[in-house]
Amino acid sequence: MLLSTPEESGIRVEGERLEHLPDGLYVPPDALEIFLDRFSGPLDLLLWLIRRNRMDIRNIQVAEVTSQYLAYLEEARRRNLELASDYLLMAAWLAEIKARILLPVPPANGDTDMDPREELAHRLELLAEIQGQARALDALPLLGRDFWLPAAVPHERLAAPTPHADLAMLATALQVLARRPRPAIPAGHQIASPAFSLRQRMGELLALCQSLRRPLGILELLPDQPDRMLLGLSLLAVLELLRQRALRLLPGEDGSWEVIRV
């Protein structure tokens, strides 16, 4: 299986699997965010609630489901979890459906609006259908995992044809790229900071090798301070000095290495 659904996997809290959520608020503290992440959206959460309450999609007790749905949202708000606006929209819609059920049915006035309860049921059925189909797809054998196909075998007289590409496709590809969100340009690795520079570190290491006049192991070349930047700089400095042939690499004991001033 490529994925798991909340129904299948249950909710895990500190490694404990909770088959049955306690009543009241159904998700224990700290698991709410993980729990809500499992749903593809508000409709999915609603569908889960309805199934958990063993309700029929065609006969939803809107008041009950709405109050449970709102309890999750309230809890998420209390814990400052960010929820997509879709969740709030759904809350508003549920409130509207609830209100319309409570109001007396207006006399038929040619209003073509779908009964909101009917529409909710319809949307939930669509989602349930899709989820079933997604599960069916997921259960299919997959190329490269469950079965393998022979690739086309070439023949010397039939050169592989040049793949089709034209200028319009090229220009379109560039336009698509321009619209695609891209990660910010990394600022580049600023190795030289006011405190340390590569040149300075190279000089220090060279001086150290020169003064001790013996092969130095890796631990002696690294800085004493637990500083990531300085550690990286030191390694880089060793490599640079080796490249410039100012240092020479020697095999050390038990497979390690040492460097010595040339």
């Binding site: 490529l2 994925l3 659904t5 129904e7 299948e8 593809s40 959206g41 508000p42 409709l43 999915d44 889960w48 309805i50 199934r51 958990r52 063993r54 309700m55 029929d56 999609i57 997509a84 879709d86 949307r123 669509l126 989602l127 349930a128 259908e129 899709i130 989820q131 079933g132 189909q133 997604a134 599960r135 069916a136 797809l137 997921d138 259960a139 299919l140 054998p141 997959l142 190329l143 490269g144 995992r145 469950d146 079965f147 393998w148 196909l149 022979p150 690739a151 086309a152 075998v153 070439p154 023949h155 039939l158 695609r180 969100p181």
Partner: protein, 175 residues
């Protein structure tokens, strides 16, 4: 090494060079032309029954294609020729809407799933070459229509869209 009857060898040459399903009428036409008087259907049936070396021959509907025998699965998995990446739940649901209800527009996909589509999903499915656009819907905004590709069928081992399995009902569906 023993040799294969010429018509079987020709049949395999075609299927191997094609690198995918071949329509039986077309296969028959060519084989009859190059090997007149030989029953190519018998040759095909025999190959379907026995397979050939590391491959088996599958016939579904009016096409046939080669597949590597399941017994080599562990070996090929170890080769890591193509590592399938697991699809996220939203991506799988989106693929399901497109596969089962094609052609569909993006707003329709969002309506089915009840949630807006995050930008990377269609891109990811497109990069896998499982979906493509095929024209636009004649409605306001002329949204693009999404369909699955032959590569999608190949990847899921389906002869055609009619072979998509029926949806599975949910594990907690109402009694």
């Amino acid at each position: 090494m023993q040799s294969l009857p010429p018509v079987q060898e020709a049949l395999l040459a075609i299927l191997l060079a094609a690198g995918g399903p071949v329509e039986l009428p077309r296969l028959g036409a060519i084989l009859s032309r190059f090997h007149p008087g030989v029953h190519w259907e018998e040759a095909l049936e025999e190959l379907c029954a026995t397979g050939w070396g590391p491959m088996e021959l599958l016939r579904t509907g009016t096409v046939c294609h080669l597949r590597i025998r399941a017994r080599h699965g562990a070996l090929l998995a170890a080769m890591e020729l193509q590592k399938p990446r697991p699809l996220s739940r939203p991506a799988l649901e989106t693929l399901a809407v497109i596969a089962y209800h094609q052609p569909v527009t993006r707003p329709e996909i969002e309506h089915w799933r009840g949630v807006s589509l995050s930008p990377g999903i269609l891109q990811q499915l497109q990069d896998l070459q499982w979906i493509e656009t095929a024209g636009t819907r004649d409605s306001p905004g002329r949204p693009a229509l999404w369909t699955t590709t032959p590569e999608f069928l190949r990847h899921f081992g389906l002869p055609d869209l009619g072979a998509l399995p029926a949806g599975l009902s949910g594990p907690e569906s109402a009694p």
